[in-house]
Protein backbone atom coordinates (compact mmCIF):
# COMPACT_ATOMS: atom_id res chain seq x y z
CA UNK A 1 0.00 0.00 0.00
CA UNK A 2 1.37 3.37 -1.02
CA UNK A 3 2.06 6.24 1.32
CA UNK A 4 -0.70 8.19 -0.47
CA UNK A 5 -3.34 5.51 0.12
CA UNK A 6 -2.31 5.36 3.79
CA UNK A 7 -2.78 9.10 4.08
CA UNK A 8 -6.25 8.83 2.54
CA UNK A 9 -7.19 6.14 5.06
CA UNK A 10 -5.86 8.23 7.93
CA UNK A 11 -7.87 11.28 6.93
CA UNK A 12 -11.00 9.11 6.64
CA UNK A 13 -10.30 7.61 10.08
CA UNK A 14 -9.86 11.08 11.58
CA UNK A 15 -13.08 12.24 9.95
CA UNK A 16 -15.02 9.30 11.45
CA UNK A 17 -13.49 9.93 14.89
CA UNK A 18 -14.37 13.63 14.63
CA UNK A 19 -17.95 12.82 13.63
CA UNK A 20 -18.41 10.10 16.22
CA UNK A 21 -17.28 12.25 19.12
CA UNK A 22 -18.39 15.66 17.79
CA UNK A 23 -14.89 17.18 17.56
CA UNK A 24 -13.83 20.48 15.99
CA UNK A 25 -11.55 20.33 12.90
CA UNK A 26 -8.57 21.34 15.07
CA UNK A 27 -9.27 18.59 17.57
CA UNK A 28 -9.81 16.12 14.74
CA UNK A 29 -6.36 16.93 13.38
CA UNK A 30 -4.63 16.59 16.78
CA UNK A 31 -3.48 13.60 18.76
CA UNK A 32 -6.37 11.23 19.38
CA UNK A 33 -6.55 8.14 21.51
CA UNK A 34 -9.05 6.24 23.59
CA UNK A 35 -9.79 8.30 26.74
CA UNK A 36 -8.90 11.55 24.98
CA UNK A 37 -11.39 12.87 23.89
CA UNK A 38 -13.31 11.78 27.02
CA UNK A 39 -16.27 10.61 24.91
CA UNK A 40 -13.99 7.91 23.48
CA UNK A 41 -14.91 5.54 26.32
CA UNK A 42 -16.29 2.00 26.26
CA UNK A 43 -19.54 2.93 24.50
CA UNK A 44 -17.72 5.41 22.26
CA UNK A 45 -15.11 2.87 21.25
CA UNK A 46 -17.66 0.42 19.92
CA UNK A 47 -19.56 3.17 18.11
CA UNK A 48 -16.28 4.20 16.50
CA UNK A 49 -15.47 0.66 15.39
CA UNK A 50 -18.92 0.29 13.81
CA UNK A 51 -18.56 3.72 12.15
CA UNK A 52 -15.14 2.80 10.76
CA UNK A 53 -16.41 -0.52 9.46
CA UNK A 54 -19.13 1.26 7.49
CA UNK A 55 -17.00 4.12 6.23
CA UNK A 56 -14.03 1.98 5.22
CA UNK A 57 -15.94 -1.08 4.02
CA UNK A 58 -13.88 -3.14 6.43
CA UNK A 59 -14.69 -5.76 9.05
CA UNK A 60 -12.92 -5.62 12.39
CA UNK A 61 -12.12 -9.02 13.91
CA UNK A 62 -13.13 -9.21 17.56
CA UNK A 63 -9.65 -9.95 18.85
CA UNK A 64 -8.36 -6.71 17.32
CA UNK A 65 -10.90 -4.33 18.87
CA UNK A 66 -8.91 -3.89 22.06
CA UNK A 67 -5.77 -2.83 20.23
CA UNK A 68 -7.33 -0.10 18.12
CA UNK A 69 -6.94 2.69 20.66
CA UNK A 70 -5.09 5.33 18.59
CA UNK A 71 -5.00 6.58 15.02
CA UNK A 72 -1.84 4.86 13.69
CA UNK A 73 -2.95 1.44 14.96
CA UNK A 74 -6.40 1.87 13.43
CA UNK A 75 -4.92 2.92 10.10
CA UNK A 76 -2.59 -0.10 10.17
CA UNK A 77 -5.48 -2.44 10.86
CA UNK A 78 -7.57 -1.07 8.01
CA UNK A 79 -4.66 -1.04 5.56
CA UNK A 80 -3.61 -4.60 6.44
CA UNK A 81 -6.88 -6.41 7.00
CA UNK A 82 -5.14 -9.81 6.99
CA UNK A 83 -3.47 -9.05 10.32
Amino acid sequence: MSELEREQVESKVRAVIGQTFGLSPTETAGELRMGDPAAWDSMGHMQLIVGLEEACNWSCPGHQIAELVDVPTIVDAICNPSN
Binding site: G35, A38, D41, S42, M43, H45, M46, Q47, V50, G62, H63, I65, A66
Partner: protein, 399 residues
Protein backbone atom coordinates in the same frame (compact mmCIF):
# COMPACT_ATOMS: atom_id res chain seq x y z
CA UNK B 1 -41.29 -28.25 25.09
CA UNK B 2 -42.20 -27.85 21.41
CA UNK B 3 -45.84 -28.78 22.02
CA UNK B 4 -47.70 -26.28 19.82
CA UNK B 5 -50.63 -26.03 22.20
CA UNK B 6 -48.21 -24.79 24.85
CA UNK B 7 -46.85 -22.03 22.59
CA UNK B 8 -49.54 -21.35 19.99
CA UNK B 9 -47.87 -18.30 18.41
CA UNK B 10 -44.67 -18.13 16.36
CA UNK B 11 -42.36 -15.29 15.35
CA UNK B 12 -40.09 -16.20 12.42
CA UNK B 13 -36.97 -14.08 12.85
CA UNK B 14 -35.52 -14.26 9.35
CA UNK B 15 -32.15 -15.18 10.88
CA UNK B 16 -30.63 -17.88 13.05
CA UNK B 17 -29.72 -16.86 16.61
CA UNK B 18 -26.06 -17.83 17.19
CA UNK B 19 -25.97 -20.71 19.67
CA UNK B 20 -23.81 -18.79 22.14
CA UNK B 21 -26.24 -15.84 22.09
CA UNK B 22 -29.39 -17.83 22.94
CA UNK B 23 -29.04 -17.32 26.70
CA UNK B 24 -28.68 -13.57 26.33
CA UNK B 25 -31.69 -13.34 23.99
CA UNK B 26 -33.87 -15.42 26.33
CA UNK B 27 -32.78 -13.26 29.25
CA UNK B 28 -34.04 -10.14 27.50
CA UNK B 29 -37.31 -11.50 26.07
CA UNK B 30 -38.78 -11.83 29.58
CA UNK B 31 -39.01 -8.04 29.75
CA UNK B 32 -40.85 -7.56 26.47
CA UNK B 33 -44.44 -7.48 27.71
CA UNK B 34 -46.51 -8.15 30.79
CA UNK B 35 -48.97 -10.00 28.52
CA UNK B 36 -46.36 -12.64 27.67
CA UNK B 37 -47.09 -15.83 29.63
CA UNK B 38 -44.24 -17.97 28.30
CA UNK B 39 -41.94 -18.46 25.33
CA UNK B 40 -39.13 -20.56 23.89
CA UNK B 41 -36.60 -20.38 21.08
CA UNK B 42 -37.23 -23.10 18.49
CA UNK B 43 -34.62 -25.85 18.11
CA UNK B 44 -33.67 -24.36 14.75
CA UNK B 45 -33.04 -21.06 16.58
CA UNK B 46 -34.84 -19.06 13.88
CA UNK B 47 -38.23 -18.68 15.58
CA UNK B 48 -39.59 -17.49 18.91
CA UNK B 49 -42.68 -19.41 20.04
CA UNK B 50 -44.89 -17.83 22.66
CA UNK B 51 -48.09 -17.91 24.68
CA UNK B 52 -50.10 -14.94 25.92
CA UNK B 53 -51.82 -14.58 29.27
CA UNK B 54 -55.52 -15.52 29.15
CA UNK B 55 -57.70 -12.84 27.54
CA UNK B 56 -54.72 -10.99 26.06
CA UNK B 57 -55.01 -12.20 22.45
CA UNK B 58 -55.50 -8.60 21.29
CA UNK B 59 -51.85 -7.98 22.23
CA UNK B 60 -50.58 -10.66 19.86
CA UNK B 61 -49.38 -8.31 17.11
CA UNK B 62 -47.61 -5.98 19.54
CA UNK B 63 -45.90 -8.81 21.39
CA UNK B 64 -44.88 -10.43 18.10
CA UNK B 65 -43.35 -7.20 16.91
CA UNK B 66 -41.42 -6.66 20.15
CA UNK B 67 -40.08 -10.20 20.33
CA UNK B 68 -38.84 -9.86 16.77
CA UNK B 69 -37.37 -6.42 17.41
CA UNK B 70 -35.40 -7.47 20.49
CA UNK B 71 -34.17 -10.80 19.12
CA UNK B 72 -33.04 -9.37 15.78
CA UNK B 73 -31.47 -6.30 17.38
CA UNK B 74 -29.32 -8.46 19.62
CA UNK B 75 -28.35 -10.77 16.75
CA UNK B 76 -27.60 -8.11 14.13
CA UNK B 77 -24.82 -6.43 16.07
CA UNK B 78 -23.43 -9.65 17.50
CA UNK B 79 -19.78 -10.49 16.87
CA UNK B 80 -18.60 -14.02 17.33
CA UNK B 81 -15.91 -14.55 19.92
CA UNK B 82 -14.07 -17.65 20.86
CA UNK B 83 -14.38 -18.25 24.60
CA UNK B 84 -11.09 -17.69 26.32
CA UNK B 85 -10.82 -20.40 29.00
CA UNK B 86 -8.28 -19.73 31.75
CA UNK B 87 -8.92 -22.74 33.96
CA UNK B 88 -10.92 -25.89 33.33
CA UNK B 89 -11.82 -28.62 35.80
CA UNK B 90 -14.16 -30.95 33.92
CA UNK B 91 -15.59 -34.07 35.54
CA UNK B 92 -17.18 -37.13 33.99
CA UNK B 93 -19.02 -38.46 37.01
CA UNK B 94 -20.85 -36.61 39.74
CA UNK B 95 -22.02 -37.97 43.08
CA UNK B 96 -25.37 -36.42 42.35
CA UNK B 97 -27.29 -35.84 39.10
CA UNK B 98 -30.60 -34.59 40.42
CA UNK B 99 -31.83 -31.06 40.84
CA UNK B 100 -31.18 -30.57 44.56
CA UNK B 101 -33.91 -27.93 45.05
CA UNK B 102 -36.82 -30.29 45.87
CA UNK B 103 -34.76 -32.29 48.36
CA UNK B 104 -33.31 -29.12 49.92
CA UNK B 105 -36.83 -27.81 50.40
CA UNK B 106 -38.06 -31.10 51.85
CA UNK B 107 -35.21 -31.23 54.35
CA UNK B 108 -35.66 -27.65 55.55
CA UNK B 109 -32.43 -26.47 53.92
CA UNK B 110 -34.10 -23.93 51.67
CA UNK B 111 -37.47 -22.19 51.77
CA UNK B 112 -39.05 -20.29 48.89
CA UNK B 113 -40.72 -17.07 50.05
CA UNK B 114 -41.50 -15.85 46.56
CA UNK B 115 -39.99 -14.98 43.21
CA UNK B 116 -36.20 -14.91 43.73
CA UNK B 117 -36.50 -14.88 47.55
CA UNK B 118 -35.17 -17.88 49.44
CA UNK B 119 -34.24 -18.64 53.02
CA UNK B 120 -31.40 -21.02 53.89
CA UNK B 121 -31.27 -23.70 56.58
CA UNK B 122 -28.32 -24.83 58.70
CA UNK B 123 -26.34 -26.87 56.14
CA UNK B 124 -26.61 -24.20 53.46
CA UNK B 125 -25.69 -21.47 55.94
CA UNK B 126 -22.66 -23.54 56.95
CA UNK B 127 -21.52 -23.69 53.32
CA UNK B 128 -22.09 -19.97 52.74
CA UNK B 129 -20.21 -18.98 55.88
CA UNK B 130 -17.38 -21.47 55.38
CA UNK B 131 -16.73 -20.36 51.82
CA UNK B 132 -16.75 -16.71 52.82
CA UNK B 133 -14.41 -17.33 55.76
CA UNK B 134 -12.07 -19.44 53.66
CA UNK B 135 -12.03 -16.94 50.80
CA UNK B 136 -10.96 -14.26 53.27
CA UNK B 137 -8.18 -16.53 54.49
CA UNK B 138 -7.18 -17.25 50.92
CA UNK B 139 -6.72 -13.55 50.17
CA UNK B 140 -5.17 -12.66 53.53
CA UNK B 141 -1.83 -11.96 51.82
CA UNK B 142 -3.51 -9.06 49.97
CA UNK B 143 -4.12 -7.42 53.40
CA UNK B 144 -7.49 -6.09 52.29
CA UNK B 145 -9.15 -3.33 54.31
CA UNK B 146 -12.51 -4.69 55.53
CA UNK B 147 -15.51 -2.46 54.92
CA UNK B 148 -19.26 -2.72 55.30
CA UNK B 149 -21.67 -0.92 53.00
CA UNK B 150 -25.41 -0.26 53.09
CA UNK B 151 -27.81 -2.41 51.10
CA UNK B 152 -29.73 0.64 49.89
CA UNK B 153 -27.87 2.95 47.56
CA UNK B 154 -28.54 6.54 46.58
CA UNK B 155 -29.95 7.24 43.13
CA UNK B 156 -27.08 9.71 42.77
CA UNK B 157 -24.50 6.90 42.94
CA UNK B 158 -26.29 4.67 40.44
CA UNK B 159 -26.76 7.62 38.08
CA UNK B 160 -23.14 8.60 38.33
CA UNK B 161 -21.98 5.23 37.03
CA UNK B 162 -24.64 4.91 34.32
CA UNK B 163 -26.22 1.87 36.00
CA UNK B 164 -29.75 3.21 35.76
CA UNK B 165 -29.53 3.56 32.01
CA UNK B 166 -27.57 0.35 31.37
CA UNK B 167 -29.52 -2.01 33.66
CA UNK B 168 -32.99 -0.46 34.09
CA UNK B 169 -34.70 -3.86 33.89
CA UNK B 170 -33.04 -5.14 37.04
CA UNK B 171 -33.50 -2.09 39.30
CA UNK B 172 -35.36 -2.22 42.62
CA UNK B 173 -36.50 1.24 43.73
CA UNK B 174 -37.14 1.94 47.41
CA UNK B 175 -39.99 4.19 48.52
CA UNK B 176 -40.84 5.24 52.04
CA UNK B 177 -44.12 6.98 52.78
CA UNK B 178 -44.49 10.73 52.59
CA UNK B 179 -43.80 12.38 55.94
CA UNK B 180 -47.40 13.50 56.20
CA UNK B 181 -49.86 12.40 58.88
CA UNK B 182 -52.82 12.15 56.52
CA UNK B 183 -50.85 10.24 53.89
CA UNK B 184 -49.53 7.76 56.46
CA UNK B 185 -52.87 7.18 58.15
CA UNK B 186 -54.59 6.87 54.77
CA UNK B 187 -51.98 4.34 53.67
CA UNK B 188 -52.34 2.29 56.86
CA UNK B 189 -56.11 2.11 56.46
CA UNK B 190 -56.09 1.28 52.80
CA UNK B 191 -52.99 -0.86 52.22
CA UNK B 192 -54.02 -4.42 51.60
CA UNK B 193 -52.38 -7.53 50.23
CA UNK B 194 -54.08 -8.38 46.95
CA UNK B 195 -52.80 -11.91 46.37
CA UNK B 196 -49.70 -10.94 44.40
CA UNK B 197 -49.04 -7.35 45.32
CA UNK B 198 -49.87 -4.71 47.87
CA UNK B 199 -52.65 -2.28 46.95
CA UNK B 200 -51.30 1.16 47.80
CA UNK B 201 -52.18 4.71 46.88
CA UNK B 202 -49.21 5.90 44.80
CA UNK B 203 -49.60 9.44 46.14
CA UNK B 204 -48.86 8.25 49.69
CA UNK B 205 -45.29 7.40 48.64
CA UNK B 206 -42.39 9.86 48.69
CA UNK B 207 -40.38 10.06 45.46
CA UNK B 208 -37.50 7.54 45.50
CA UNK B 209 -34.19 8.68 46.95
CA UNK B 210 -32.63 5.20 47.04
CA UNK B 211 -32.59 1.86 45.31
CA UNK B 212 -31.38 -1.58 46.34
CA UNK B 213 -27.71 -1.95 45.68
CA UNK B 214 -27.04 -4.24 42.71
CA UNK B 215 -23.44 -4.88 43.70
CA UNK B 216 -20.98 -4.27 46.52
CA UNK B 217 -18.27 -2.19 44.89
CA UNK B 218 -20.32 0.88 43.87
CA UNK B 219 -20.43 2.02 47.49
CA UNK B 220 -16.65 1.66 47.61
CA UNK B 221 -16.16 3.99 44.63
CA UNK B 222 -18.68 6.44 46.07
CA UNK B 223 -16.72 6.45 49.35
CA UNK B 224 -13.51 7.26 47.44
CA UNK B 225 -15.24 9.74 45.10
CA UNK B 226 -13.58 13.07 44.34
CA UNK B 227 -10.31 12.05 45.99
CA UNK B 228 -6.68 11.70 45.04
CA UNK B 229 -5.19 8.42 46.20
CA UNK B 230 -1.57 8.30 47.29
CA UNK B 231 -1.35 4.50 47.18
CA UNK B 232 -3.19 1.57 45.63
CA UNK B 233 -6.11 0.26 47.70
CA UNK B 234 -7.45 -3.24 48.23
CA UNK B 235 -10.80 -3.36 49.98
CA UNK B 236 -13.08 -6.25 50.87
CA UNK B 237 -16.73 -6.29 51.87
CA UNK B 238 -19.61 -8.69 51.97
CA UNK B 239 -23.06 -7.43 51.18
CA UNK B 240 -26.54 -8.14 50.00
CA UNK B 241 -27.07 -7.45 46.30
CA UNK B 242 -30.36 -7.14 44.47
CA UNK B 243 -31.15 -7.72 40.80
CA UNK B 244 -34.69 -8.21 39.68
CA UNK B 245 -34.49 -10.77 36.93
CA UNK B 246 -38.14 -11.35 36.06
CA UNK B 247 -38.74 -14.77 34.48
CA UNK B 248 -35.02 -15.51 34.76
CA UNK B 249 -35.30 -15.86 38.55
CA UNK B 250 -34.94 -19.54 39.29
CA UNK B 251 -34.18 -21.24 42.60
CA UNK B 252 -30.78 -20.46 44.03
CA UNK B 253 -29.41 -20.20 40.50
CA UNK B 254 -30.72 -16.67 40.15
CA UNK B 255 -31.99 -14.80 43.20
CA UNK B 256 -33.49 -11.33 43.46
CA UNK B 257 -31.68 -10.94 46.79
CA UNK B 258 -28.27 -12.59 47.21
CA UNK B 259 -25.01 -12.35 49.18
CA UNK B 260 -21.74 -11.38 47.59
CA UNK B 261 -18.19 -11.27 48.95
CA UNK B 262 -16.10 -8.81 46.97
CA UNK B 263 -12.46 -7.86 46.79
CA UNK B 264 -11.94 -4.47 45.16
CA UNK B 265 -8.78 -2.96 43.65
CA UNK B 266 -8.14 0.71 43.04
CA UNK B 267 -4.82 1.78 41.54
CA UNK B 268 -2.78 2.09 38.38
CA UNK B 269 -3.71 -0.09 35.42
CA UNK B 270 -0.87 -2.60 35.87
CA UNK B 271 -1.60 -2.94 39.60
CA UNK B 272 -5.24 -3.78 38.99
CA UNK B 273 -4.45 -6.28 36.21
CA UNK B 274 -1.80 -7.96 38.34
CA UNK B 275 -4.06 -8.24 41.40
CA UNK B 276 -6.83 -9.76 39.33
CA UNK B 277 -4.49 -12.44 38.08
CA UNK B 278 -3.31 -13.16 41.63
CA UNK B 279 -6.88 -13.56 42.90
CA UNK B 280 -7.70 -15.83 39.98
CA UNK B 281 -4.80 -18.03 41.07
CA UNK B 282 -5.79 -17.94 44.74
CA UNK B 283 -9.44 -18.63 43.97
CA UNK B 284 -8.49 -21.60 41.86
CA UNK B 285 -6.78 -23.12 44.87
CA UNK B 286 -9.87 -22.62 47.01
CA UNK B 287 -12.24 -23.99 44.37
CA UNK B 288 -10.00 -27.02 43.96
CA UNK B 289 -9.84 -27.50 47.71
CA UNK B 290 -13.65 -27.63 47.61
CA UNK B 291 -13.32 -30.18 44.79
CA UNK B 292 -15.67 -28.30 42.48
CA UNK B 293 -15.90 -28.87 38.76
CA UNK B 294 -15.74 -25.49 37.04
CA UNK B 295 -14.31 -23.34 34.29
CA UNK B 296 -12.95 -19.80 34.43
CA UNK B 297 -13.68 -18.07 31.13
CA UNK B 298 -14.57 -14.81 29.42
CA UNK B 299 -18.02 -13.38 30.00
CA UNK B 300 -20.08 -10.22 29.79
CA UNK B 301 -22.54 -8.39 32.02
CA UNK B 302 -26.28 -8.52 31.34
CA UNK B 303 -26.70 -5.01 29.91
CA UNK B 304 -30.19 -4.10 28.76
CA UNK B 305 -31.03 -4.16 25.09
CA UNK B 306 -29.86 -0.73 24.01
CA UNK B 307 -26.44 -1.07 25.59
CA UNK B 308 -26.09 -4.80 25.22
CA UNK B 309 -24.22 -5.32 21.98
CA UNK B 310 -21.75 -2.50 22.30
CA UNK B 311 -20.92 -2.90 25.97
CA UNK B 312 -20.70 -6.66 25.77
CA UNK B 313 -18.41 -6.48 22.74
CA UNK B 314 -16.24 -4.01 24.56
CA UNK B 315 -15.96 -6.28 27.61
CA UNK B 316 -15.08 -9.23 25.38
CA UNK B 317 -12.57 -7.28 23.34
CA UNK B 318 -10.65 -6.10 26.40
CA UNK B 319 -11.02 -9.34 28.45
CA UNK B 320 -12.71 -7.25 31.11
CA UNK B 321 -14.76 -10.02 32.67
CA UNK B 322 -13.96 -13.62 33.53
CA UNK B 323 -16.49 -15.83 35.26
CA UNK B 324 -16.15 -18.97 37.35
CA UNK B 325 -18.84 -21.23 35.96
CA UNK B 326 -19.51 -24.24 38.19
CA UNK B 327 -21.05 -27.32 36.61
CA UNK B 328 -24.67 -28.11 37.51
CA UNK B 329 -24.89 -31.85 36.84
CA UNK B 330 -28.70 -31.73 36.91
CA UNK B 331 -28.64 -29.64 33.74
CA UNK B 332 -26.70 -31.53 31.07
CA UNK B 333 -23.96 -29.17 29.94
CA UNK B 334 -25.32 -26.55 32.30
CA UNK B 335 -23.46 -24.34 34.73
CA UNK B 336 -23.93 -21.38 37.02
CA UNK B 337 -21.64 -18.36 37.42
CA UNK B 338 -20.49 -18.46 41.04
CA UNK B 339 -17.88 -15.74 40.79
CA UNK B 340 -16.38 -13.15 38.48
CA UNK B 341 -13.11 -11.31 38.04
CA UNK B 342 -13.67 -7.87 36.58
CA UNK B 343 -11.60 -5.03 35.21
CA UNK B 344 -13.36 -1.68 34.76
CA UNK B 345 -10.36 0.16 33.27
CA UNK B 346 -10.72 3.81 34.32
CA UNK B 347 -14.54 3.80 34.04
CA UNK B 348 -15.21 4.24 37.78
CA UNK B 349 -12.08 6.35 38.24
CA UNK B 350 -13.58 8.80 35.75
CA UNK B 351 -17.21 8.46 36.85
CA UNK B 352 -16.37 9.11 40.51
CA UNK B 353 -13.27 11.27 40.02
CA UNK B 354 -10.90 8.92 41.82
CA UNK B 355 -7.46 9.96 40.68
CA UNK B 356 -3.77 9.85 41.25
CA UNK B 357 -2.01 12.73 42.97
CA UNK B 358 -1.58 14.42 39.60
CA UNK B 359 -5.23 13.95 38.69
CA UNK B 360 -5.12 10.96 36.34
CA UNK B 361 -8.18 8.72 36.73
CA UNK B 362 -7.31 5.47 38.50
CA UNK B 363 -8.23 2.02 37.29
CA UNK B 364 -10.42 -0.35 39.27
CA UNK B 365 -11.24 -4.00 39.31
CA UNK B 366 -13.23 -6.34 41.51
CA UNK B 367 -13.67 -9.99 42.27
CA UNK B 368 -17.00 -11.23 43.56
CA UNK B 369 -18.38 -14.56 44.71
CA UNK B 370 -22.11 -15.20 44.91
CA UNK B 371 -22.29 -17.17 48.15
CA UNK B 372 -25.68 -18.85 47.70
CA UNK B 373 -24.62 -20.03 44.25
CA UNK B 374 -21.40 -21.51 45.65
CA UNK B 375 -23.51 -23.47 48.15
CA UNK B 376 -25.86 -24.57 45.38
CA UNK B 377 -22.99 -25.75 43.17
CA UNK B 378 -21.50 -27.71 46.06
CA UNK B 379 -24.70 -29.62 46.87
CA UNK B 380 -25.52 -30.04 43.18
CA UNK B 381 -22.13 -31.72 42.59
CA UNK B 382 -21.63 -33.48 45.93
CA UNK B 383 -25.11 -34.09 47.30
CA UNK B 384 -26.99 -32.88 50.35
CA UNK B 385 -25.34 -35.01 52.99
CA UNK B 386 -22.44 -33.22 54.69
CA UNK B 387 -20.81 -36.59 55.31
CA UNK B 388 -20.35 -36.89 51.54
CA UNK B 389 -18.81 -33.46 51.05
CA UNK B 390 -15.14 -33.15 50.09
CA UNK B 391 -12.69 -33.19 53.02
CA UNK B 392 -11.64 -29.57 52.35
CA UNK B 393 -15.24 -28.46 52.71
CA UNK B 394 -15.81 -30.39 55.90
CA UNK B 395 -12.63 -29.00 57.37
CA UNK B 396 -13.52 -25.42 56.43
CA UNK B 397 -16.99 -25.75 57.93
CA UNK B 398 -15.66 -26.89 61.29
CA UNK B 399 -13.02 -24.15 61.55
Amino acid sequence: MGNPSEFPHSVPLGLVIPAELVGDVVGKLHYVSEQLAGFRISDSRDTVQFRLKPGQEAQRALVTERLREVATKLCRSYRSWGDKVLVSRPREQFACQEDPHPALEREGQIFRYGNGRYGLGPHMVALVEAFDRQFLRTVESFSPEAHQFPSIIGGDILSRCRYIKSFPHSLSLVHHLREDLEAIQGFAEQAEWGGDHLHVKPDSLAPPETLLSPTVCFHCYAWLADSKQTRPRIITARGKCFRFESGNLRGLERLWDFSMRELIFVGPKEFVLEQRQKVIDASTQLLDRWNLSYEIKTATDPFFIDDFSQQSSFQRAFDLKFEVRAALPYKPGGSVAIGSFNIHQDFFGRSFSIGTIDGQPLHTGCVGFGLERVALALVAQHGLDPAGWPPGVREDISR
